[in-house]
């Protein structure tokens, strides 16, 4: 027992060790996402609104290179019809070629095309923002997270919380505020509570009434941010619904199978213990 006490004392030193302040932003709050939890699924209308926000606001600076227009029709996504997706694609001009004379040419988008990039190359994009790069948003909700500490982290295993990235994007878009009085900031930057280091080269992209919603949802920054974050959760994990659905079937199968094996095992071993 004395050894155990020593071990616990050692462990206490570990846990009490000073916490280091790295350059991190404020911790985002958790949101009630429709797609969280074992049965959580995407809200089609929300994904469609999120796409609208992306196309009308974010797309001028951020790419979405892993998403093709055909994905918009795919089950488990925003649920557009084939014709609707074709119409969206056709609104874009895609560079194709070379043609028979060796020239590149522009043509309207098709289902197989991907969302076009905001600039022909990274340098062109960076030069618009004083060297900062607006990242491609396809997997952004899996590429961002925040620390919740050991206890909450362990709890997240049981309640299957995986929506940290969406929380962050939502918080970031709502996180603009005036810089502290003693901080100088130039016009190309803004102050954001949630961005690591707070100085962000993305000036507030959203404002109320900026994007028109036809389904009666509120036209507020808060709602836009929520919708686009949900949309980006889908672009990062387009097969999430299939994954959870198959997962449920697999779980049921495994649990029933384990039960059968358990009783078989008991029967087989009954004589071995007698």
């Amino acid at each position: 027992m004395r050894k155990l006490t020593v071990a616990l004392a050692l462990l206490a030193t570990v846990v009490a060790a000073p916490v280091l302040a790295a350059e991190v932003g404020a911790k985002p709050d958790r949101q009630a996402w429709s797609f969280s939890g074992p049965f959580g699924m995407f809200d089609r209308a929300q994904l469609q609104r999120g796409l609208k926000v992306y196309r009308e606001v974010c797309a001028s600076c951020h790419g979405l290179k892993y998403i093709a227009f055909r994905n918009l029709v795919q089950p488990g996504g925003p649920g557009f019809s084939d014709a609707e997706a074709r119409a969206i694609a056709a609104e874009y001009q895609i560079t194709d070629g070379p043609d028979d004379t060796g020239e590149m040419f522009e043509r309207p988008g098709r289902l197989s095309d991907h969302f076009p990039p905001p600039a022909p190359n990274e340098q062109a994009l960076r030069s618009r923002f004083g060297g900062a790069l607006p990242p491609d948003l396809s997997v952004i909700t899996k590429a961002r997270s925040y620390e919740s500490g050991l206890a909450i982290g362990l709890l997240d295993f049981f309640r299957q919380y995986q929506e940290h990235g969406a929380d962050y994007v939502y918080a970031l878009l709502n996180g603009y505020e005036d810089p502290p009085a003693d901080v100088e900031i130039d016009g190309a930057q803004a102050w954001n509570r949630y961005f690591p280091g707070n100085r962000i080269a993305m000036v507030p992209p959203l404002s109320d009434e900026q994007v028109e919603y036809t389904d009666g949802s509120p036209q507020t920054v808060d709602q836009y941010a929520r919708d686009v974050a949900a949309f980006l959760a889908w672009t990062a994990e387009p097969h999430m619904e299939a994954r959870k659905r198959i997962g449920f079937q697999v779980m049921i199968f495994l649990i029933v199978f384990a039960g059968l094996l358990y009783f078989t095992k008991k029967k087989v071993w009954a004589d071995a213990h007698a």
Binding site: L10, V14, P18, L20, E23, K142, A143, R144, R243, K265
Partner: protein, 424 residues
């Protein structure tokens, strides 16, 4: 390898084949008639679980390779292509990525099982050392696999770990350049890691065969750590061990499926969804969870060379455990002092894992040094001394007696303390 029965094929064709290559007899004697101790508990199901996990990694890995592009420009995109466009590609990749973690979870349980029940002792030293080799091969395989998706953590973990070799005096820098195939981690590094990541699992497969062979020569240890004396002490592998192992495996798969289908990125690092960027170092470079205790040991030592030596020594010391442990009794069940130190060691290893995830500053470093020191003291000082100062509890006379006692609730048989070793 004498079983309860021998294999006598009834089918003519089978008998013809068997006379020429007795492969079915080998399978039968190894996995059907093979006698297993009657008192094995569920900690003994992890060997089978590990074998299945190896096959899972091989099968998913081979299909992933069909779609993976091992170039610095193409790797990240190809993994996203697998996740999005390949039929059930997301499933393959999530099984493979989480499968590596489950593989390590199983191997850690397997190793600590061995430490608890003294499975490394005479006559199982070679079996144990083959296990340590398997562990090293797994670490190399998983490390190189983690580099393949070519995310930020892939790139920077590769940089940090390969850089360790520069600590070697005189030739260090030359070795690192040779490992990289250039002057930094780049496409040549990715390509050689890809090649070796494909190769090593097959080497593992070969060593697993040796490991199982060695096991079947000396027989399994058991929770009482005493030798099998008669047929009454064993049950045939099939159906007894087969059904028990299957039950253990399926329970393990429930945990596996929990990760794969519901929290597939729980164990991963978000930075690995950012494409590798040689110009931008992530604020904290952390390895996968299963390397964290070793990472803590590496950083606990103030000198780079010292850290590297300590890290490798922490694994190498396991090779010598059969000789460092001087006790004649195998199982911690009958070793009241060792049992306590076992649990302390486990807590220390978990503590090291926790520290490996923390930045190497302030109190974390001090704690990591203390725990590192304790880790080595356990193996180099405590383990040898215990054999001399500890009075073991009386051992049961035989496995069957101990099983019957447990199930009948009969009073303890007063078996004298004997040396169970060296009597086959």
């Amino acid at each position: 390898m004498s079983g309860h029965e021998t294999f006598q094929p009834q089918n003519k064709a089978l008998a013809w084949f068997e006379r020429r290559l007795p492969v079915f007899g080998l399978l039968h004697s190894s996995f059907v008639a093979y006698p297993t101790p009657r008192n094995l508990n569920y900690w003994w199901t992890f060997g089978g679980i590990l074998s299945v996990m190896l096959v899972v990694q091989l099968v998913t890995g081979i299909v992933l390779v069909m779609h993976f592009v091992p170039t610095s420009a193409g790797a990240f995109d190809s993994v996203e292509h697998i996740m999005r466009n390949v039929n059930y590609g997301w499933l393959l990749r999530y099984i493979h990525a989480n499968g590596a973690s489950m593989f390590f979870l199983a191997v850690y349980i397997h190793i600590f099982r061995g430490l608890y029940y003294g499975s490394y002792k005479d006559p199982r030293e070679v079996l144990w050392i083959l296990g340590v080799i398997l562990f090293l091969l797994m670490m190399a395989t998983a490390f190189m696999g983690y580099v393949l998706p070519w995310g930020q953590m892939s790139f920077w973990a590769a940089t940090v770990i390969t850089n360790l070799f520069s600590a070697i005096p005189l030739v260090g820098d030359a070795i690192v350049t040779w490992l990289w195939g250039g002057y930094s981690v780049d496409e040549p590094t990715l390509k050689r890691f890809f090649s070796l990541h494909y190769l090593l699992p097959f080497v593992i497969f070969g060593v697993v065969l040796l490991h199982v062979w060695a096991l079947h020569v000396v027989g399994q240890n058991n929770p009482d750590g005493i030798d099998v004396k008669s047929n009454k002490d064993t049950v045939p592998f099939t159906p007894h061990a087969t059904v028990k192992d299957s039950f253990g495996l399926i329970c393990f798969f429930i945990l596996f499926a929990w990760f794969v289908f519901y929290i597939p990125n729980y164990l991963g690092h978000p930075d690995n969804y950012i494409p590798a960027n040689p110009l931008q170092t992530p604020p904290h470079i952390v390895p996968e969870w299963y390397f964290l205790p070793f990472y803590a040991i590496l950083r606990a030592i103030p000198s780079k060379l010292g850290g590297v030596v300590a890290m490798f020594a922490s694994i190498a010391v396991l090779v010598f455990v059969p000789w460092l442990d001087t006790s004649k009794v195998r199982s911690a069940r009958y070793r009241p002092l060792y049992r306590q130190f076992f649990w302390i060691l486990l807590i220390v290893c978990i503590g090291l894992g926790y520290l490996g995830a923390k930045p190497p500053e302030g109190g974390y470093v001090i704690a990591a040094r203390l725990l590192t020191a304790y880790y080595f003291i356990h193996f180099l000082v405590i383990l040898p001394l215990l054999g001399y100062i500890e009075t073991p509890k009386p051992l049961p006379a035989s496995i069957s007696e101990s099983v019957l006692k447990k199930h009948a609730g009969a009073p303890a048989a007063a078996g004298a303390v004997r040396s169970p070793e060296r009597n086959g």
